[in-house]
Amino acid sequence: MKKEKPRIAFFDFACCEGCQLTVLQLEEKLLDLLDHVEVAAWRVAISGGSDAYDIAFCEGSISNREDEERLHRIRETAGTVVSLGTCASIGCHNALKNQWTGGEVLELVYGGEAGRFETLPARPVASVVPVDYQILGCPASLPEIEIVLKRILTGQPHPLPNNPVCVECKRNDNLCVLEKGVMCLGPVTRCGCDAICTSYGDACQGCRGLVDEPNLEAAVRVLTENHRHAIMDAVARGLRVDRERIRTWFSLYNGPDLQLEQEKTGHGP
């Protein structure tokens, strides 16, 4: 049976376009993908493009009215909308600006020219239009991109992975990086990245967002009190290890999630 191939398109909003580049890292698997889809628009991969598409991958956060309108048009055109990466799925670094008013932010960035621009608090795609699939990660994780592509093409949903990174980290036979003196947000961060950072000895920065019902109180206690090696190491490097710093660290990727958690449970880090 010969079916029309669905047409895919990539769109970027406030972001670095790193997630689109990550999709290109599918490399030879791109050829497999092209057996099943046609590319309608993909700025980092092909020139030109078409306005007719079925599956829209949106990366980046929505941070001004123009973005909003463009996203609404995409939603009207595409049967399937995918938020690609943490900017599009959670808000990521873009959401850091939400702690100030739009006026303050414009003043800070554009100084005297602030009046020429307008800005909105940065929001994930799903806060503006309904989203069918979410891919997490900064950048979006390659194994998950592949899984989600296959799920879209076979009509399966992709629930957000809800295990912490530790599960995948341990399956990779890693010594806990905290044991090696590295602070880590893995225990409260969604997996699906195959624990790539910690497998190379780095900290998990929490780029995939918080798991459901994270025990943030426990996380803060571990990171400020329990974990002797990591704390001593951080202190030796002149870093502050207190609730405030941990909060800042969590906010790097998880600002909006933290806010939700705070509203739900009445406390956060």
Binding site: L33, N162, C166
Partner: protein
């Protein structure tokens, strides 16, 4: 199987002969043993040995247990492809033919999994892998997390084929099975003398002295306590500190829960079913299709961990599913120590009864 009355038998192998022996068996098939992972200096992992000199027989407990030799963290169970009917191809396990350097606690854990996975109806994947491997145990020196002695496994031998104890001239080798004896045929050994036995005994005594941490009740009483009392405050107190990250389970040599999922290959017609280690501490572990999560509260999952290890599986298989290896306590970044918490439970249960 008939018991061989000549076993166990004893001999001595020199360090140099261990190296030759390892080189010999490496040439015949995949061998797994403890070695240093280059990016984790000072820590050991069980992995495929490439060179005999990579084998480290004096090592502290590995982060992950050797059960992965027979039950890998992730594996393919079968492949499928379209057909009428569809083609289903089972994928066999790929166990090492020799698993080297297993400490008594980890031997005991393999025994635990033998019982759990052989309980009818059996998990034949486990049996298939176990039947194809020879296990060489080695005695150890405890660290501050070890409490194997109070669970009665510090001198465990089952189910090893050979067992090594370090002595002055190398290792005293105990041969426990005929397969072990045949494997040892590959090695240059000498007769064990009185002095060798004395040294091995001395070492065992040193080890026993080195195990400072103890459970304050025997496993049978602990099971009774857990059955009799709710200990709600203790579970809630542990839960307040617990992340539910699952590391206590994923590092446990005696845990055996798993989950399965499917992936399509890129033709979107064929694919495979995979299985991976799972953990009862994870929020969605007992979730059902409608969305209901059994044991939704963290304290219920914490209680489940203790009940499973020290009560449910103890009753079913006649032994606790904890070997006192201490991996979970080492791995817990929140410093939830299985021994301390268990002793707290025992203390709470025996309070006022005058036999703490």
């Amino acid at each position: 199987m008939m018991r061989d009355r000549s076993l166990p038998s004893y001999c001595v192998i020199s360090p140099g002969s261990v190296l030759d022996f390892t080189a010999g068996i490496l040439g015949k098939g995949p061998v797994m043993g403890p070695m240093v992972r280059p990016d984790q200096p000072g820590f050991h992992v069980f992995d495929r040995l490439r060179r005999p000199e990579d084998l480290v027989l004096e090592y502290t407990t590995t982060t992950m247990p050797p059960k992965k030799a027979f039950f890998p963290p992730t594996e393919t169970v079968f492949r499928f492809s379209a057909g009428d009917p569809p083609n289903l191809t089972p994928v066999r396990g790929d166990p090492p033919w020799v698993l080297l350097g297993v400490h008594p606690c980890d031997l005991s854990a393999i025994d635990a999994l033998d019982r759990a996975y052989s309980f009818p109806p059996p998990d034949r994947r486990w049996r298939h892998n176990r039947d194809r491997s020879i296990i060489v145990g080695v005695d150890c020196m405890p660290d501050e997390y070890c409490f194997c002695d109070s669970l009665g496994v510090s001198q465990a031998r089952r189910p090893c084929d050979l067992f090594l104890t370090e002595i002055e001239r190398g290792y005293l080798v105990e041969t426990h099975t005929r397969a072990g004896g045949e494997l040892l045929g590959e090695a240059r050994t000498s007769n064990a003398l009185g002095q060798d036995f004395l040294e091995a005994e001395h070492r065992r005594r040193q080890k026993a002295l080195g195990i400072q941490a103890r459970l304050s009740a025997d496993p049978g009483r602990l099971a009774d306590f857990l059955e009799a009392e709710p200990f709600q405050e203790i579970w809630e107190d542990i839960a307040a500190r617990c992340y539910s990250c699952g590391s206590c389970n994923t590092t446990c040599p005696a845990c055996f829960c798993f989950t399965m999922d499917d992936v399509f290959h890129w033709d979107l017609q064929s694919g495979e079913r995979r299985r991976a280690w799972d953990s009862c501490q994870l929020l969605d572990f007992a979730a059902v299709a409608g969305g209901h999560r059994f044991r939704e509260d963290r304290w219920q999952r914490v209680r489940h961990r203790w009940h499973r290890k020290f009560l449910h599986l103890y009753r079913r298989f006649g032994r606790p599913f904890c070997t006192g290896c201490g991996r979970c306590s080492r791995a817990c970044t929140a410093d939830i120590n299985i021994l301390d918490e268990t002793n707290r439970i025992i203390a709470a249960a025996t309070k006022g009864r005058g036999h703490a």
